[in-house]
Assembly symmetry: C2
């Protein structure tokens, strides 16, 4: 299997690329095509919008590639998502797309367009402690659909999003249909009052209220709240689920860490 790596958000570190290529060489069951765009920089981004869009469209149209792996998150895929999803070539529909965090903007729009996407570890994760296992988990699923890579509690159809990304795609052309979905959210580097505010926003959505249940992945690197917020992330999410009539399904095994599991969107991939 040949896998293209592109960076629609922030640049990939050279060291991460080298370590992931070494893992792939050792596995011997796949081949990486790391697009040179991954190493561009333009302020916050992995190159200007035009370069990130062109690299993504190149990979989408490339018949030699079976999967597209987003190099890392950060911020920026929303800036090119609508253009990337206009006139999706047939070749692009035959591929699987994997990533998480900021890549959720693309996941949402691709899934809405009927293309196979999955939440899962990304190449830059190799730099985390335990990151090699994360890379192998992602590749085990991409290459041979290994069920051991999956979030263990999935009840398809499922979706997974970073909470803030989800909040920011509601009402945009990227918003998918959440009816009957096992929706998993997670968060990183936010204050609890912001998580409370974002839960207010997300659970007010009539579309989100149609989920089968909402589960909470890990909430890591919580920023200090002054004064103490007064309740934890589970209590916050449970309260907004109760207020909005959404069944709360408990915790889920995803997050911004090396333990992050794979969540294929929709029902096609169990």
């Amino acid at each position: 299997m040949r896998i293209a790596v592109v960076a629609p958000s922030c640049p990939l570190k050279r060291e991460a690329a080298q370590r992931v290529e070494a893992i792939v060489a050792e596995r011997g069951d796949c081949e990486l095509a790391i697009h040179p765009q991954c190493f561009l920089t333009d302020g916050h981004f992995a190159g200007p919008d035009e370069a990130r869009l062109a690299a993504l469209r190149d990979a989408m149209a490339d018949a030699s590639v079976e999967a597209i792996w987003f190099a890392r998150g950060g911020y920026g895929s929303n800036r090119i998502a609508e253009a990337a999803l206009a006139q999706i070539p047939d070749e692009a529909r035959r591929k699987t797309y994997m990533g998480y965090s900021d890549a959720g903007f693309l996941h949402a729009g691709l899934h809405k367009a009927g293309v196979e996407v999955a939440w899962g570890p990304m190449p830059q994760d190799v730099l985390r402690s335990g990151g090699e296992a994360a890379i192998n988990r992602a590749l085990d699923w991409l290459v041979r659909r290994d069920p051991a890579a999956l979030e263990p509690g999935l009840e398809a159809p499922a979706m997974a999003f970073n909470l803030t990304v989800l909040s920011n795609l509601l009402g945009t052309p990227l918003e998918p249909d959440f009816a009957r979905v096992d929706l998993i959210i997670e968060e990183v580097s936010e204050q609890l009052y912001r998580i409370d505010r974002t839960m207010f926003h997300v659970t007010a959505s009539a579309n989100v209220r149609r989920v089968a249940r909402l589960r909470l992945g890990r909430v890591s690197d919580v920023l200090a709240n002054d004064p103490e917020f007064g309740r934890d992330e589970t209590a916050i999410v449970e309260e907004w689920c109760a207020r909005s009539g959404i069944p709360f399904g408990g915790r889920a095994d995803i997050g911004h860490d090396a333990q992050n599991r794979v969540v294929p969107f929709g029902s096609q991939s169990r």
Copy 2:
């Protein structure tokens, strides 16, 4: 004029209350009724939801009060807004409501319900450098509709919101009609990449795209972006306006500071 002060978000400092009461005593043209709820604390909030809601509803129903002044922002008014706006008593419809920042959740819902609201300085602002002038500006407008207190470029009907608050009320029952509105936004304590992301979200709204124009107040205490984002807040807002077909109307004279001006919502208050 008798003005009730309540705190639907975070607690008011005693020192701020005392200093505002001294200003009011010196003016002699109005009277403050600072609700004891303003000094409650419950984690992040000025008392539990029930206490904040009860104080707001007390003030709304109080026939002796002509205006309700929100004590300060922070976070939390969204948690009680829908309940406060259910079955608005006739007395509540005869009053003017003033505040800014987190109070925008209430402003949106009150304005949508046909009640007079205005963006403007709040009691806690007296603690800012130059805060006495801000308090007098707010009172000049509340008590005698002094046009010198107004944001100088208003083309009614107008509205003003903190950008993040605006983003978080879209799609909720609080969302007002933005058609033909002179919409002013401002921001505080955010990173530029977040402002870019929030502008993506806000300008994707079909409702927001119906504004007459969008103007940008001050963006203060911008948090460090690593690496440098690559463009400033004006360029960010101009770009998303251009992308979404919203006329950009330039900068506006509001913000999280003592220079903050008054923006009456709608067309009734020029």
